[in-house]
């Protein structure tokens, strides 16, 4: 991105001054190198989001931002229903509530190292991953609706995990006000045998070791010490979320003129929060959030069962579970006054600061765990929400490394077999049904996650707690 387009506010804060139909400025977080590397399309997309009715404060881009559809990936925007604010299906994205869950294992590197190959093979066999794979739970009718209303709580009630797990999930595992009746028959059909599956693309299950601690007190509270082994699940709401996104994008794009909304880009399709369509979308999207929470809960139990066979001493407690693609009603202070706002996070992580009432009591003094996934061969990070985050970005932080190279280019550049061999030389085992998928997800196709996390930390969006490195990865 041409830095001449931006006003530099400080080392890590860049502004797009309001121009044209922008109602608020754009704010980009990142160091000079990250900002310079951004596609011009991110500038356009951040500016377009700033044109939507009822937007509050600014249209934000996190340090891992890249060209998305409508909103940039790494885009954050809050809307006020009292000011004619909107909800945007494109602002949430297709993979609704795609997110990351990290589990402690209670084991050290030395416990896991001798059985790494066996563990990789067993997890690959037991956790359905990749295209065309199905889960063992078939949901239709009332069963489907119960899952969509109950989320991870539904999964626990059906024997997948324990009530203690729910404490460590956003919304305590169940998104309120979901409307299963607003979810189409087609979306439900797409989901009927997909609960408990990872999916494909950038989704994965990784076994990782804690490599470095940055904040000893917070790491201790999060239960992390060097050489601890953790398991991390990255996946979302599967076919159901994709279909809801598809359908509401269409109906919002078509209904926009009738709602008096001029869209700078069709992909920004949105509806007033106080419209029938807006309410329906919110209900369906919340049901999709529950679908993603249920999915990660069921996968958690599959992982536990595999560990129980191979490393029976393991205790897989949930560290935390975060969602990336959501629109949530939250209370934030704006110009000194408390306001209830609908915060869109598209490829961004909620990062509530210390003391936030939504956090479980034992974590509350430290801020929300922010789990940031890296690419296959690189590190992932655990961060914690800050006080400043609320003012900077409605308590939001980065969500991953962000792609630096298109899938198209990655396929031309690498062969899956070589990527697997290279990672094996670095001590990382890869299991995947798709070598082509592995090539597309080659580590070098991503930005340097370390730079993204450093910029997030330096900007004050979240603070670094620990770095973890992969031991093995089951790739979707």
């Amino acid at each position: 991105m041409d830095l001449g387009l931006l006003t530099r506010e400080s080392e890590h804060v860049w502004r797009i001054e309001p121009h044209g139909a922008m109602r608020v400025p754009g704010v980009l977080y990142g160091d000079e190198r990250l900002i310079r590397a951004l596609d011009e399309k991110v500038y356009e997309q951040v500016s377009n989001v700033a044109m939507l009715p009822g937007i509050v404060a600014a249209s934000y881009a996190m340090p891992d931002a890249h060209w998305g559809y409508g909103f940039p990936i790494g885009g954050v925007a809050a809307f006020d229903a009292d000011a004619g604010g909107v909800v945007s299906a494109g602002g949430v994205g297709f993979d609704i509530s795609c997110g990351v869950r990290t589990l402690h294992t209670g084991l050290k590197l030395a416990d896991v190292a001798p059985v790494r190959e066996a563990l990789a093979d067993a997890l690959f066999r037991d956790v359905p991953a990749g295209m065309g794979t199905t889960g063992t739970i078939r949901l239709t009718g009332d069963g489907m609706d119960a899952m969509l209303a109950g989320g991870a709580r539904w999964a626990v009630e059906n024997g997948y995990g324990t009530r203690a797990d729910l404490e460590r999930i956003e919304e305590r595992g169940c998104m309120a006000d979901a409307l299963p009746s607003a979810v189409s028959a087609q979306a439900k059909k797409r989901q009927q045998d997909e609960i408990g599956t990872l999916g494909s693309g950038n989704h994965y299950l990784e076994i990782q070791r804690v490599a470095e601690i940055f904040d000893a007190a917070t790491a201790a509270a999060f239960g992390l010490a060097v050489d601890d082994v953790v398991a991390t699940i990255h996946c979302g709401s599967r076919g159901l979320g994709h279909q809801i996104g598809t359908e509401f994008l269409r109906s919002m794009a078509i209904a926009a003129p009738a709602h008096g909304i001029r869209l700078p880009d069709r992909e920004l399709a949105c509806a007033p929060l106080r419209s029938e369509l807006g309410r329906e979308y919110l209900g369906a999207m919340r049901a999709a959030i529950n679908c993603a929470l249920a999915n990660r809960q069921v996968i958690t139990e599959l992982v536990r069962r595999t560990f129980a066979r191979i490393l029976p001493r393991a205790r897989l407690d949930v560290l935390y579970d975060v969602s990336h693609n959501t629109c949530k009603l939250e209370e934030h202070r704006v110009d000194g006054a408390a306001k209830r706002l609908f915060v869109h996070r598209k490829g961004a992580t909620r990062a509530f600061g210390p003391g936030h009432p939504a956090l479980p009591e034992d974590l509350r003094p430290y801020g929300q765990p922010v789990l940031v996934g890296g690419s296959m061969g690189t590190a992932s990070y655990v961060l914690a929400g800050t006080d400043a985050g609320e003012r900077l970005s409605f308590s939001s932080a980065c969500h991953g490394a962000g792609r630096a190279m298109s899938r198209h280019q990655a396929l031309k550049t690498w062969r899956g077999r070589d990527v697997v061999a290279e990672l094996a030389r670095n001590g990382i085992l890869i299991r995947s049904r798709s070598l082509r998928g592995v090539a597309e997800e080659a580590p070098a196709a991503y930005k340097d996650v370390g730079a993204v996390v450093d910029a997030t930390h330096a900007a004050g969006l979240a603070r670094k707690v620990a770095r973890v490195e992969p031991l093995l990865c089951v790739k979707g």
């Binding site: 065309g132 494909s200 076919g239 994709h242 794009a253 880009d265 198209h408």
Partner: protein, 146 residues
């Protein structure tokens, strides 16, 4: 379509997008461009040459304009891939830009025979374009979220 662009062989290609994938079909008619765009989508998932054309699925779409129609058409194919685990070898389309009747020819996805690429989530309105070029060729394209 009565006016064919001479010399424009139907073809498909992928074009780059940061996180996702662009699909583009080019043809002598709007219908051909839609067929080729569908082939670009199908090829992102499984090589169409490796798919047995053993069954035909009939698909119908209707939309206010040709661009929305393209997205609907691609999404109808994505639904068949996702909900019915199908992969495709070829497509036949008849459309006037508002109504489309299409045939998707392929088989059930079989991981032992088909090497899977990406799993499409949905066709988007990003880089969405259905137009006739100066040389008379029709182009139909958009970004697909994968």
């Amino acid at each position: 379509m009565t006016h064919h662009a001479a010399g424009t062989e139907p073809r498909w290609e992928h074009f780059p997008h940061d996180a996702d994938l662009g699909v583009r079909g080019t043809g002598r008619t709007l219908s051909e461009a839609f067929e080729q765009a569908a082939l670009a989508l199908a090829a992102a998932v499984v090589d169409p040459g490796a798919v047995h054309p053993s069954e035909t699925t009939e698909l119908r779409c209707e939309a206010p304009d040709a661009e929305l129609l393209l997205v609907d058409w691609l999404n109808a194919i994505i639904f068949e891939m996702a909900a019915r685990h199908r992969c495709f070898a070829r497509f036949e389309v008849a459309t006037d830009g508002k109504r489309l009747s299409g045939r998707a020819v392929g088989e059930r996805f079989d991981p032992t025979r088909h090497e899977a690429g990406v799993e499409p989530k949905g066709a988007t309105y990003t880089a969405l374009r259905v137009s006739r070029e100066a040389d008379g060729a029709w182009v139909a394209q958009c970004v697909v979220d994968v």
